[in-house]
Amino acid sequence: MAKGRVSIVVERCKACGFCVEFCPSHVLALSSAFNSKGYHPPHVVHPEKCSGCDLCGMYCPDFAIAGGKVDQSGLPVKKADAAQGGKK
Amino acid sequence: MKADSEAATLPKTGRHTADPRGVLTGIHFIDGDHACCEGALAAGCRCAAGYPITPSTEVVERFASRVPTVGGTFIQMEDELAASITLQGMVWAGAKAFTVTSGPGFSLMMEHIGYAAMTETPCVFVDVQRGGPSTGLPTLPAQADMMQARWGSHGDYEVIALCPNSPQECFDLTIKAFNLAEEYRVPVMFMMDEVVGHMSEKVVIPPADQIEVVPRKHTHKSVEDYLPYGTNGDQVPEMAHAGEGYNFHVTGLTHDERGYPNMTLPVQNKLVRRLQSKILDAVDRITMTEEEQIEGADVVVVSYGITSRVAQRAIEVARERGLRVGKLRLITAWPFPEKKIRDLAAKVKAFVVPELNLGQMVREVERAAGGQAKTFAVSHAGGGVHNPEEILKVIVEASRCQTI
């Protein structure tokens, strides 16, 4: 069971390749599909290796991908401060 | 050191009057620069950013000395480019703010005057005019920045410009300048000149409750409903300040009602025309003039600033000689009172426009007159004031000219 999962916002992606390159577990690869702007967004090729470290999310300049940890049933582990986005 | 934490109490009438802590009530013998500083304080201005330039420096020197005793901040920035935008940061943080300069500094500030117009930042720019162009005559008067006050920055925008002709007016009209800035969310140009700035006269500063002050047009809308550049029929949007949780965006790029850049023709059209019409539609309410013996006049002398006082002498002598001379003093130079001049032009023979420049506001008079009356300039290259005889000579010439 994977420790993490990513979610990808396909329409924001510009296929820069940062997430593919810097994922420590090589979970991602650029797909052959196109988004509406003509870019190849990434897709998950090794979901079982995802640790939910969110390095992909930190690198993505287009805010198009995020990774997070999931529990044994596959649901995201809630991080309270992340959900609120800091104190308002 | 004492912390002063009480806000100015609003009177029960709902009229906003000056905070007494900033009002130096009394009878003073001070020059225009000093009176302007007191006017700013009386208007509720507690922040300024400046850069020294003769003959304006005394305004901020006095402000630097006064403001730590009334609660506020003055900072001398590294140049006018900085001063002219630091004051706008002060405004967006919640303060009333101004800066003070003369010709060369005014030129440097032009980009930011345009930024204030575009972002609708209420603020005051004081220009104590001196001889130009370039370094020119730092210690001597001129009135040659009048067109620059209106057209100095790039693009289409409107400003308001006031011309005091005495230290008393430097006090009174500075308050008016701040009030107009708040009412119309526009940068106001306070066009003094070196003589008015450096001459000392009696200045009466009334009690604070006799000074009317226009507060910031702050929104009462919720964060969800507030649109930074939305107008509900009224052409002036409501403002919010940084740090209040509105999360608004301000940009000098062409923007829509959300404040977001939207660089399309329709948005440009709507925005820029509103920036113009919010001032021009209100020209009758904004314009202030001083008129005397206009009825039945053959010649009307149109003047402003220190020149209006020299012209007064010339007008008196002309009247002693039996000429029918009216006086129209521009207290507001911009927006220009076109309609007033156009209506007058149908009734008089000629306008005489003395100015300490080679012909600036006279062009507006001529344009507005539309050929219905003749226009005579009494130009001056700057560096001193006119001799009343110079103006009288032209009044006499104008009286003799053939009616159109």
Binding site: K14, F18, F22, C60 | K2
Partner: protein, 291 residues
């Protein structure tokens, strides 16, 4: 692969974005968006009160950050973010003011304001995204462009020495000076958090790729190639003398926290001076009540 915004894994940057303006205008492989991720995480980690945060930017690609973040944000004129930010801070000392702008904006046209704000130690957090070029206007030489690079205004190669920004701002008086690259996402975030804890002029330079202009014109590949270069050629040297951290076109990039010192900030010194000179007559500036 999901088509729409999948809401089960939340991107921590999302609450800070004006989502109605995304996708943004930055090029594929541009690093500015990456710096925004680090910035967002720093905001979360430092527990900053977002209601009292203001972000000011100048003109340029990095200047567009102001338009994408959901904060009180000001997109000002070219080179003048720092004086505008100074005005905000002076009139409302409770504001946390961040200046987020590019190398050309801050060190060329804005250079004078940069050194004076550092000298005065105005309490500002300056994030300088350095892509070594004037990107927005099409790739002209910036004061930071390494020599021998090709730009549109030096088509035969730059022959001027380039600024060593950490050295410049340290000499001018900054109390916190760090440099990272867009490869160093976590360290950058930590540096921004540290700057938030610091009172005084803090300057964080972030080396970032400009694939369309700098990389392409100099035949250095794309944004990903730049990121790999940063990974390979960066050397972390905390406390390195800033005189030694100048950059060249193909050499090492020294990164780290170079300066972290204590000096009273402008407003502290101002209050103390007034109190000393005026005694009881000093009236401290209150919150601006302007309504």
């Amino acid at each position: 692969m999901s088509d729409d915004l999948v809401t089960d894994i939340l991107n921590p940057v999302e609450p800070f974005l004006r989502s109605d303006r995304v996708p943004h205008i930055w090029c594929p492989g541009c690093g500015i968006g990456t710096t925004v991720n680090s910035f967002a995480r720093a905001l979360i980690d430092s527990n900053i009160d977002l209601g009292s945060l203001a972000l000011v930017s100048g003109i340029g690609c990095t200047g567009r950050v102001a338009g994408y973040v959901k904060l009180d944000s000001f997109h000002t004129t070219h080179g003048r973010a720092i004086p505008f930010a100074t005005g905000l801070k002076l009139a409302n000392p409770k504001l946390n003011v961040v200046v987020y702008s590019g190398d050309g904006d801050l060190s060329a046209i804005g250079g004078n304001h940069l050194i004076h704000a550092a000298r005065r130690n105005i309490d500002l957090k300056v994030i300088c995204v350095n892509n070594l070029i004037y990107a927005m206007t099409g790739g002209q030489t910036a004061p930071t462009t390494p020599d021998h690079s090709t730009t549109s205004t030096n088509p035969y190669g730059v022959f001027e020495a380039s600024f060593n920004l950490p050295h410049l701002v340290e000499a001018a008086g900054a109390v916190y000076v760090a440099r990272w690259t867009t490869f160093h996402v976590r360290q950058l975030s930590r540096a921004i958090s540290e700057a938030f804890q610091k009172k005084g002029f803090s300057f964080i330079e972030v080396i970032s790729p400009c694939p369309t202009l700098y990389q392409r014109r100099n035949k250095m590949g794309d944004g990903l190639d730049a990121m790999k270069y940063y990974k390979e050629k960066s050397r972390v040297r905390h406390g390195a003398p800033t005189s030694e951290v100048g950059m060249t076109m193909t050499g090492e990039i020294i990164v780290g926290k170079f300066v972290d010192r204590e000096r009273p900030d402008y407003q502290t010194m101002m209050r103390s001076q007034y109190a000393e000179s005026l005694g009881e007559r000093f009236v401290e500036q209150t919150e601006m009540v302007c309504s």
